[in-house]
């Protein structure tokens, strides 16, 4: 199996404050990785460093053996990226399809607009995300969940090798989230994707991912998802007053009430 992302001794310092400290991480191609940790723990900084948006203060990152800062200049689409916040104008003049077509811009290159083939691909991913019927709707008028689905279709439309999602569950209800994580699992194989997903929801993430990284400035744990539920790891991430409640498929309280 090829190594998709290799991180060695990565540190990032912002305004004289260490945001990431001595991170070592190796992610194999085709794996689904969850990155969890508290707010301010450096999750978004780590993915921005992987994307080449920010430069490490020390250490090195390699994406399929290459420096991420050099990837934007290459024709190949390595990353599909879903940022946490968009902050766009509430009247942003764009249909859902226009937004998904933005994911094709790197492939079309300078001086050219996406063509018929790009539209077909964009429509395919809109349909895959269950929002094909909204292709002509104004993007900024869609609900948070619909915008999120369109944005994920945009991230996939470039047919990337690595999909990076920053809090993709935002705006999706519980059922929608479950469907969405199942969809990601199926894409993993279908598109030979490597997926990195940042989430604050440690409980849900452990159910779906292959490996989990627990980050709070330092990387406290990387490995089997169940290992992240260890008391020591949880205390390192969130402090002492943290516990995870695991519940079975049967709601005991509901059963009790029903029998009364």
């Amino acid at each position: 199996m090829r190594i998709a992302i290799q991180i060695e001794n990565l540190s990032v310092i912002f305004n004289e404050k260490e945001v990431l400290k001595n991170i070592n991480l190796s992610i194999e191609e085709g794996h689904f990785i969850g990155i969890v940790g508290p707010n301010g723990g450096g999750k978004s900084t780590l993915i921005r460093a992987i994307l080449g948006i920010i430069r490490p203060s020390s250490g090195a990152i390699k994406i399929f053996g290459q420096d991420p800062a050099l990837l934007p200049g290459k024709k190949e689409t390595v990353f599909g990226y879903l940022p946490q916040h968009l902050n766009i104008d509430p009247a942003f003049p764009s249909s859902a399809l226009d937004i998904v077509l933005m994911g094709r811009y790197k492939k079309t290159g300078l001086f050219k607009w996406p063509g018929t083939k790009d539209r077909e691909i964009a429509e395919k991913y809109l349909a895959m995300m269950g929002v094909g019927n909204l292709k002509d709707a104004q993007f900024s008028r869609l609900s948070g969940g619909q915008q999120q689905r369109v944005s994920i279709a945009r991230a996939l439309a470039g047919e990337p090798r690595i999909l990076i999602l920053d809090e993709p569950g935002t705006g999706l209800d519980a059922v929608g989230q479950e469907d969405f994580y199942h969809l990601l699992k199926s894409l993993l194989k279908k598109m030979n994707l490597t997926i990195l997903m940042v989430s604050h929801d440690i409980g849900t993430v452990t159910t779906y991912v292959d490996e989990i990284s627990c980050l709070n400035i330092n990387l406290y744990y990387h490995g089997n998802p169940l290992g992240a539920l260890d008391d020591k790891v949880l205390t390192s991430l969130y402090g002492k007053n943290m516990d995870i409640l695991m519940h079975s498929g049967v709601c005991e309280k509901c059963e009790r009430l029903r029998s009364q």
Partner: protein, 266 residues
């Protein structure tokens, strides 16, 4: 009507006015969507310093103002980035310093006969053939540049980080946009004036934002608003002998408010 169109100075005013209405119509879309209206006001006021340098040096004030405002725009970008401050702070600094510099130079040069009023509020009578040519060349160049990289500017406007990941050099394009903005402002000064030129960078885009469903339709509505404001404003200016800048801005504002009322009635 025929008298207005046949007069040579009005022909020059219309030609320059139509060119700048198309150029500012495109720029205005991005100014509004990127919430950059203060930088338009800042650079236009800063142009006063560049115009004063022109008076002092004997060079064409529009030419010196183009060079000066490009430096101001780059200064604003660099100061914001290096000083880790929001752009509105550095705009506030550069714009007041440039105004102060302009007033100091004009006071020192003792040139009281210069047409300051024309530069501040617009004076179509003062447009020279050379300035029409300067407007023609710069407007066509900047419009061609914006149209060529429309897709890139659209993605940067949507989300800068996504643009970076898509291989767009965002800082480079942001600097080019600031240069395009500076040039557009200066070539509009003769017609609209320093005080009011920022209105042409905001009102057409704001009007288009009310109705547009796509980038192309937003640019089309914005250019049409700018074009109508400039043409109607120039007619009113000629007819009632009022400063052209004021007529153009009031016409644009009327179009905006009527559009807003109609939109809210929908």
């Amino acid at each position: 009507m025929i008298e207005i169109i046949s007069s040579p100075f009005m022909q020059k005013a219309f030609l320059a006015g139509i060119l700048i209405s198309i150029l500012t119509g495109i720029i205005s879309v991005f100014i509004v969507l990127r919430k950059m209206s203060f930088i338009g006001a800042g650079i236009s006021h800063a142009a006063f310093g560049g115009i004063a340098i022109g008076f002092f040096s004997g060079l064409n004030p529009l030419f010196t103002a183009i060079i000066y405002t490009i430096f101001v725009a780059l200064g604003i970008e660099s100061t914001s980035r290096k000083g880790k401050m929001t752009e509105d702070v550095s705009i506030g600094i550069f714009y007041s310093v440039s105004m102060a510099l302009g007033i100091t130079i004009i006071s020192l040069s003792k040139s009281y006969n210069i047409d300051l009023f024309g530069y501040l509020f617009g004076n179509i009578l003062a447009i020279t053939n050379g300035e029409v040519l300067l407007t023609l060349i710069t407007a066509l160049t900047v419009t061609a540049f914006m149209v060529t990289f429309l897709k890139e500017f659209f993605l940067i406007t949507y989300n800068e980080e996504l643009a970076m990941v898509s291989g767009i050099n965002v800082r480079f394009f942001n600097i080019l946009f600031l240069i395009a903005l500076s040039v557009s402002i200066v070539i509009s000064i003769r017609i609209v004036g320093i005080i009011m030129v920022s209105a042409l960078l905001v009102i057409p885009g704001a009007t288009a934002r009310l109705y547009a469903k796509s980038l192309i339709s937003m640019i089309a509505i914005s250019c049409l608003t700018g074009f109508t404001s400039v043409v109607a404003g120039l007619f009113l200016s000629y007819e009632y002998d009022i400063a052209s800048g004021a007529c153009i801005v009031l016409t644009a504002a009327a179009i905006f408010f009527v559009s807003l009322i109609l939109k809210n009635r929908e």
